[in-house]
Assembly symmetry: C2
Homo-oligomer: 455 residues x 2
């Protein structure tokens, strides 16, 4: 194909591949979505190379799909229309740490754990922590979030500037280094979460935070999942500034215990973390104890040292992997709705009931401080009944959320998994989104067949 | 004109006007920008009426400029190309307070003080506080911020959903009621700060906060403005969670004392506020005292009661009015750059020197925790030398900021005042913004001649 010849003309041989194993690596993510091969995989080293790739792709109207670590749960990186998969693994440099400005400049292939290792030397950390050790480029593309978003915000809140290569090869910046700006349209926010459909990120300037004076984490167990959710609402309403407040249901605790070799009580549990100065933190904890006592909770225990705290959050983060491990041969589907806090208890109750109704293996975890919860479902993609039930279950969960002012995806993004709910969620706004997409990518080469149905 | 006949056909007589006094009221804002009359002013009562107005305007390619209270400082509401001024003063209802979800739904004509009066009954408050008692529609249109943004974020951070009427009359929603979402493009962020160039807001769902357990505010005075700025950097680097940290220079304190009948020491001053639980707040204050002592500050005094605290923030908010009062016959120009925190001290030093060089009356105040400061300039718009010097001064301030990764406007917006700096600030991204504008408003009827030069 002519475009491959043009790519080969400027890329060294070891940075362009049509090898089957390489193509297969770039054909899938970590979920149940059906793999599909790209035609060619390239490994750029800088923005100028990405720009040249885009120009060639745009001239030939060939699809371009950016690829970080492939940890998506909604098929974002799967090239259903073939074309070029741009693998950013060679663009993995931490360019600049700016401690006085609480900023860091990185290339898109840097993983969040690598960034945090570096930041630790400066007494800083990066706040967003999805389960996977994703790349920062991928996290910005999908507007990822995680356990600490209740305090520090989502990925979009951390993006101060993106260097973006547009479909026509233009290299531009979406922001600047200032903490706020009212100049021009908010391109930072627009490109964050655009899932590779508006441009490829080649550099990110992100907000970082000082490591707080004190961090304390613990587990509160409850006799019912309802009282666990009530506790979240009451804690937040009391103005207690939790840094993390995570629900893990009894079924998920069971998987965690098996996989992480913990022996947590197999009951509905909140993993809670407090951060701040010592005096304020202690007052918050006392207040939290009172709230929990009013709700007739079971236990509320703090992890004594950093190691035990790390173990706790590692256990929380490996829930999805624990399920994968616990159900060999089955595939993972994760629901991801987000609702107004006042609707959360009802939503989770309905989700638990529906698991039984559809006879599915799975459990519920959630970033409940944000109103975001996941059902982790394991099903056999070869069994048509299980597939149908899993799809029906997801649909039930999404429609429950959309009918109550919620969103079909709190943090995993649309990809192909949530495409079918876009019209219902966004109504006429979906036309405005399409108009924007078309204005920046008239040939629809950028991650085609994602977000927008029928493309 | 035919479009006026069409408007008159469905709007009652008392809600459409071509009366000269009314036109003049809608021809100006609170700044030095030259007034210009609209052809007609209309007062809609709901989104459907705004939609019909837009359809008529779009058919006839007539400009539409939304108008809140006219408190803009950059000429946003001035209809330089005539046409229709839509006055939202009749759409001033607080539609729904949702305390459990920390949300409120309002019409665009509600002022921030009216909203806060209502929220107080629920133990809640709305955080964004620009100097003026602006409307929430106007604040969303310009992405306003203010003294509390260092803790609670800017206007864009509060917007959960906007009902927007597009140029073709389409009524759509940009968001939902969930605390976070990764579904589709971030239209909340794009429309917030779009300054009436992408659509008119007819309903806003905004985030609100619980009134904290304790609030304490005080004033710290310094012998030099440099040490005041150093104090800000050191306080933030120490991880102390200030809710407000505002610089007021000695010249501005002088105007405040005259206007607000206060007798604050006429020295560089930080107005600082702490919020939180009592124990945490007291620890933060002790730590702050140590930092200030290290910098050889002059005094650090707390206001004893709520009344004195309110007086302090009222004084801070009236700085611009104090200048207007202190220089009768002169007009107000306010610079509004925002820089990375590490560049702030140098920027303010340069701004002070330049005031002398250009022989201008004015002083400096700033939301220094965000790196955003204003020089309030008073000048005679009839005196060509003063006008030229004021323009040169503003240009100097802006270029200093842009050369150091900053923005030409931290919170006042572009309007017409910052239009000339858009190309320099955004580079190639300005083309992307124009493409987006054109995709949603192909006839350029929405607030034409704002943000984008040469239109």
């Amino acid at each position: 194909m002519k475009y491959i010849t043009e790519l080969e003309a400027f890329l060294p041989k070891d940075r362009i591949s049509t090898n089957t194993t390489i193509l297969e690596q770039h054909s899938q993510d970590e979920s149940y979505h059906t793999p599909s091969l790209p035609v060619v995989v390239i490994y750029p080293e800088n923005a100028e190379e990405v720009s040249r790739v885009m120009e060639i792709a745009n001239n030939h109207k060939v699809p371009v799909v950016p690829f970080g670590l492939g940890s998506s749960l909604e098929g974002h990186v799967i090239p259903y229309h073939g074309g070029i998969s741009i693998d950013f693994s060679l663009m993995d440099k931490i360019i600049d740490v700016m401690p006085d400005d609480f900023l860091v400049k990185v290339q898109p292939g840097v993983s969040r754990s690598k960034l945090n290792q570096e930041l630790k030397k400066h007494g800083l950390f990066f706040s967003v922590d999805p389960g996977a050790d994703a790349t920062l480029g991928g996290m910005a593309a999908t507007n990822a979030s995680g356990t600490t978003s209740v305090k520090y915000g989502i990925m979009r809140d951390q993006v101060r500037d993106l260097e973006v290569v547009l479909a026509d090869g233009t290299i531009m910046h979406t922001g600047n280094l200032a903490a706020k700006s009212s100049s021009g349209y908010n391109l930072n926010g627009l490109f964050t979460g655009s899932e590779g459909t508006l441009g490829c990120f080649t550099e990110l300037t992100l907000r970082v935070y000082g490591i707080p004076e004190m961090i304390l984490a613990g587990r509160a167990t409850f006799h019912t999942i309802d009282s666990a959710v009530d506790a979240v609402v009451n804690i937040l309403s009391a103005g207690i500034q939790v840094a993390r407040i995570e629900l893990v249901d009894e079924d998920s605790i069971k998987q965690v215990n098996k996989y992480s070799e913990t022996n947590y009580a197999e009951m509905p549990t909140l993993f809670i973390e407090f951060r701040g100065n010592e005096a304020g933190l202690m007052q918050d904890i006392e207040f939290t104890k009172e709230i929990l006592a009013d709700l007739n909770h079971d236990t509320f225990e703090f992890e004594k040292d950093t190691q035990a705290q790390n173990k706790l959050w590692e256990a929380r983060h490996t829930v999805a992997y624990a399920y994968k491990h616990g159900f060999p041969g089955k595939q993972l589907m994760t629901t991801d709705v987000c609702l107004p806090l006042s609707e959360l208890a009802g939503a989770i109750k309905s989700a638990k009931q529906a698991l039984k109704e559809y006879n599915l293996d799975g459990g519920i975890v959630g970033h409940v401080g944000d109103g975001n919860y996941h059902t982790t479902l394991m099903f056999d993609t070869e069994n048509p009944v299980e597939v149908e039930n899993a799809e029906k279950y997801n649909k039930h969960i999404v429609e429950y959320a959309l009918n109550r002012g919620g969103s079909c995806t709190g943090e995993h993004g649309v990809g192909i998994g949530k495409m079918k709910y876009q019209a219902e969620e966004h109504g006429k706004a979906l036309q405005a989104m399409k108009a924007i997409k078309l204005s920046l990518d008239p040939n629809n080469i950028l991650n085609p067949g994602k977000i927008f149905p029928n493309e």
